[in-house]
Amino acid sequence: MATNSLSFKVSPEGVVPGLKEALAKLNGAQCEVVLDFSSVLRIGPKALRAMESLASAADEKASKVVLRGVNVSVYRVLKLMQLARRFSFLT
């Protein structure tokens, strides 16, 4: 089955707006969201909250959120928050 896929490049300065935009798109359509994290060096509490919302929205719509190029420090934060299991990862 073909799946629509939306890709976003998340900038280090705008992690939270980027995630919010992705959330809006996800809410508006049945699609897979791919977020390019390759230029994000670290994330803060607000970004984590936005990611929790995104993961919850994806769960509700049975959609998939794919994170591409997440560095290991950020990946570790997601693991500590038990969020890593709610996303798919692409290197």
């Binding site: 994330i43 509490p45 607000k46 984590l48 420090s73 928050m81």
Partner: protein, 872 residues
């Protein structure tokens, strides 16, 4: 959920969950911070605490009604400045310590969410202290202050959190539970995302923390004994004790509780206390204080007095004191429930005890220490180091403060060089996991990165080895006043002893001790020892095979070090460098040991081993130490020319087994390899000739050299499982050692060359190399083969051919041992072989079942090894 936590409303639970989630998020985010970022947050927090020290102290006083404003302000400042001074340059992120010479690196890992309970007695100082430590270690903290100190603590947390946030800390790093209750505490203590509980407070709080099942730092009550010994500087001691006990009206749990004073100085000391504002109570007043301030039901202090001034306490209980009284001092005559004032009193009242002797004083201090003060703090004033040492030995306290104030001394960094803290670990005596002054390292998981290290190896051999025909002539260069020759009857009969005598320097007094040909027993060693002592020998010449030389080694050991305990020295060990029992270094007498070997196999003339038969207990004692190695070895083939054929074969096979096993040992090194390989080459070339043509001088010379060279290898690399099997089997069925080795040899080569079921831990080896080593041996012998497997197969075949030429039995069955008898013996043989000290250097760790298999292969004999090699 606990019973207490079950009473929480859903709304309250949701609130607590939010707090923990905030902290968890902050802690996760914090893991990304660098050391520089962390340090940039800590410094302004310290500044803020210093600026607000008086403000926070005032809040604490107003709210708790405990303590002294000035002292509380100082405590806040100590918690900030002194702690900062200690932590500021300490790495707490990433690599925190390196030990290059040990290949060790320590890396800091934050803990995560810490749930912190803070006390009523030191509320704001404790918050400041914990906040600084938490930020320095990248942890988040949820605070639950004592309900009666909530506002001041909340304010301290707010100041610390806002400052931290302003300088980059993650949002939510500090939170404070609003109006916390026991139920809240119980819920948070058991929360899955709380990683550590840091509980500072009363015994109940600490006990709850430790009972939660979570890792916890719990610091609670103390009961500090003070010994004021007669040699002390009394003026200093009195001022220190008053300073300490009145500091913040005695609220610090490390403050002095009972002063034990030597009889000789008692009156003088009390006079000094009185002169400096202490009210010395009479017996009646003491009784009144005990009755009113200590709860007879619980045995604990009543809260009414905690942190109050001495004059206020006196007024409250109806005791008349001067208005400038800063301290109350009440005599006690014992320690325990029947002496109420001997317990902890967090207010300016000291119990005082008159001791008739040091012994009595120490016992009273021990009693106080055991009455609720275990692991906490104790104080001694003395100029007598022996008294201080004894006090330190008998008192169980994490902090033993010498000639300084207890409460301020225990904090650290002021009167001594202990780590500054507001949290005192009390060890197991206080139900704690540490006796340390709690500091940043207790807020970290410290990861140890351990690189593979290679311990220094060695190659140790006797100082002098003389070899080839007539090497015995070298005896002339060893002057001796009195020499004992140890030998066996046969060698004396055939004239070998005379050859030795002729080659000794003139004027040497010579005495001959003849011992039986068998393995030496203790009585034989004692017989030789008596001769050495009687003739005051300075030299012993061992002329014989392994048994004679071993006996001489033990005689020398006992002669030089009469106190040497052979039972201890023969205890098993895994690594000669780490053995439990060390050989004596100090020598009562000095003796030169010259070993002249008369067989070509054991290598005892250069080895550091000796075997003693303990007939009484039916066992062998294997001694191993380089101090047993002979000083001089003489490898002269003239002594082996007449060796019988059977002995030539048996000892030659022993030599080959030494070389093969040393070659594949996990202790093998390039130094031992050189010797092992050369010995293998010599044995394969010359042993058949020496066996078939006993008079061939060249073959005898080369085999004699081969035995010594193989011994140089196994003396440093040891042997392996072949020897373990042969020792067990040979002892059980009375089979000569070399012959027993021969029965096992092809099977053990095949076994070691196969992929092991279990690898032997071997830090000296980079990979499993036994099969490659065997292939190298095959190459050295020119056996051919294109692959490692082919070469191993050829080595096994060549070994079999050699054994055939030597006409030794090739299976245990050939020895006439029935299958039934052997079957009965195998379980014991396996156990004995597994206890043998030979195998721990074998390249392959033998399973018990594998040892049994090897015994059965040896039983069946010829053909089995070939099949095993093929399978491998």
């Amino acid at each position: 959920m606990t019973q207490e936590a079950a009473s929480l409303s859903e709304e309250r639970i949701a609130y607590l969950e939010r707090l923990v989630h905030q902290a968890k998020t902050a802690a996760a985010v914090f893991t990304q911070y660098t050391q520089e970022e962390v340090d940039r947050i800590v410094k302004p927090m310290v500044s803020a605490a210093m600026e607000q020290a008086q403000y926070l102290a005032r809040l604490a006083i107003e709210e708790t009604k405990l303590g002294v404003l000035e002292d509380k302000a100082i405590k806040n400042m100590v918690a900030a400045e002194f702690v900062y001074n200690y932590v500021k340059d300490k790495p707490t992120v990433g690599v925190i310590r390196e030990f290059p010479e040990r290949g060790l690196v320590e890396v800091a890992e934050p803990i995560g969410v810490i749930f912190s309970l803070t006390p009523i007695t030191n509320p704001t100082a404790t918050v400041i202290f914990k906040c600084i430590m938490a930020i320095k270690t990248r942890n988040a903290m949820v605070f639950s202050p004592h309900p009666k100190a909530w506002h001041c603590c909340h304010e301290a947390v707010r100041i610390m959190a806002e400052t931290a946030l302003k300088h980059g800390a993650p949002e939510g790093v500090f939170t404070c539970v609003e109006s916390s209750t026991l139920a809240d505490n119980a819920y948070l203590m058991h929360h899955k995302d709380v990683r550590l509980i840091d509980a500072t407070g009363g015994p109940g709080v600490v006990k709850a923390a430790y009972s939660s099942g979570k890792p916890a730092l719990g610091v609670g009550a103390g009961n500090t004994p003070v010994y004021l010994e007669k040699t002390a500087d009394l003026d200093m001691a009195v001022v220190d004790i008053i300073t300490s006990k009145t500091f913040d009206n005695g609220t610090i749990c490390a403050s002095e509780q009972t002063v034990v004073i030597d009889d000789e100085i008692y009156d003088r000391v009390l006079k000094k206390f009185a002169e400096l504002g202490t009210h010395i109570c009479n017996e009646k007043e003491a009784e009144l204080l005990g009755r009113t301030l200590i709860d007879p039901e619980t045995g604990f202090q009543r809260p009414m007095a905690v942190g109050q001034k001495a004059v206020d306490i006196a007024r409250a209980v109806g005791l008349a004191v001067k208005p400038d009284t800063k301290l109350l001092m009440a005599p006690i005559h014992g320690v325990g429930r029947e002496h109420p004032l001997s317990v902890e009193k967090l207010f300016p009242l000291l119990a005082v005890y008159r001791a008739k002797s040091v012994d009595e004083a120490l016992k009273v201090c021990v009693d106080v220490n055991h009455l609720g003060g275990l692991g906490h703090t104790a104080v001694v004033f003395s100029r007598n180091d022996e008294v201080i040492r004894k006090f330190s030995e008998v008192i169980n306290a994490g902090r033993i403060i010498v000639n300084s104030p207890g409460s301020i001394g225990a904090i650290g960094g002021i009167y001594n060089d202990m780590v500054p803290t507001l949290s005192f670990g009390c060890g197991t005596g206080g139900g704690n996991s540490t006796t340390d002054n709690v500091n940043v390292y207790h807020y970290l998981n410290i990861k140890r990165v351990a690189r593979r290290t290679q311990a220094p190896m060695w190659f140790r051999v006797p100082n002098q080895i003389y070899f080839n025909m007539n090497a015995v002539q070298n005896l002339r260069q060893f002057p001796s006043r009195s020499t004992i020759i140890v030998t066996n009857p046969v060698l004396e009969q055939i004239g070998h002893v005379d050859v030795v005598r002729r080659n000794l320097p003139p004027q040497t007094m010579v005495h001959v001790t003849v011992i039986p040909e068998a393995e030496p027993e203790m009585k034989v060693v004692m017989q030789g020892l008596e001769a050495l002592q009687f003739y005051k020998a300075d030299q012993i010449i061992a002329l014989g095979g392994g048994s004679v030389i071993d006996a001489a080694k033990i005689m020398k050991l006992k002669y030089e070090s009469p106190e040497a305990d052979l039972d201890e020295l023969g205890a098993p060990f895994l690594d000669i460098r780490k053995r439990v029992f060390q050989y004596p270094v100090e020598k009562t007498n000095r003796l030169r040991l010259i070993a002249i070997s008369t067989t070509s196999g054991t290598g005892s003339e250069v080895s550091p081993f000796a075997v003693l038969l303990d007939k009484e207990r039916g066992r062998k004692i294997t001694l191993a130490d380089y101090s047993l190695s002979p000083d001089v070895a003489i490898v002269d083939p003239q002594f082996v020319l007449s060796m019988p054929k059977g002995l030539t074969a048996d000892t030659g096979i022993d030599c080959l087994t030494h070389a093969l096993e040393a070659g594949v040992s996990v202790y093998a090194s390039p130094y031992t390899d050189a010797n092992a390989m050369q010995a293998i080459r010599l044995v394969f070339k010359y042993l058949p000739i020496a066996y078939e043509h006993p008079g061939d001088e060249e073959a005898r010379t080369m085999m004699h050299n081969a035995a010594c060279i193989a011994a140089l290898a196994f003396s440093n690399a040891s042997v392996g499982v072949n020897h373990a099997l042969a020792h067990a089997f040979g002892a059980r069925f009375g089979i000569a050692h070399g012959r027993a080795n021969a029965l096992m040899l092809p099977h053990v080569i095949a076994y070691n060359a196969a992929v092991p079921t279990k690898f032997m831990p071997s830090p000296h080896q980079r990979a499993y190399t036994a099969h490659k080593k065997y292939a190298m041996m095959a190459d050295l012998l020119g056996l051919g083969g294109d692959t490692i497997a082919e070469k191993v197969k050829n080595l096994v075949a060549a070994t079999e051919q050699l054994l055939d030429r030597l006409e030794v039995p090739r299976s245990i069955a050939e020895l006439g041992i029935s299958k039934e008898e052997f079957e009965r013996a195998v379980p014991d043989l396996v156990k004995i072989a597994f206890d043998d000290p030979s195998w721990p250097t074998n390249p392959r760790m033998p399973l018990l079942s594998e040892l049994a298999d090897l015994f059965w292969e040896a039983y069946r004999g010829r053909g089995t090894a070939k099949a095993a090699t093929k399978a491998a």
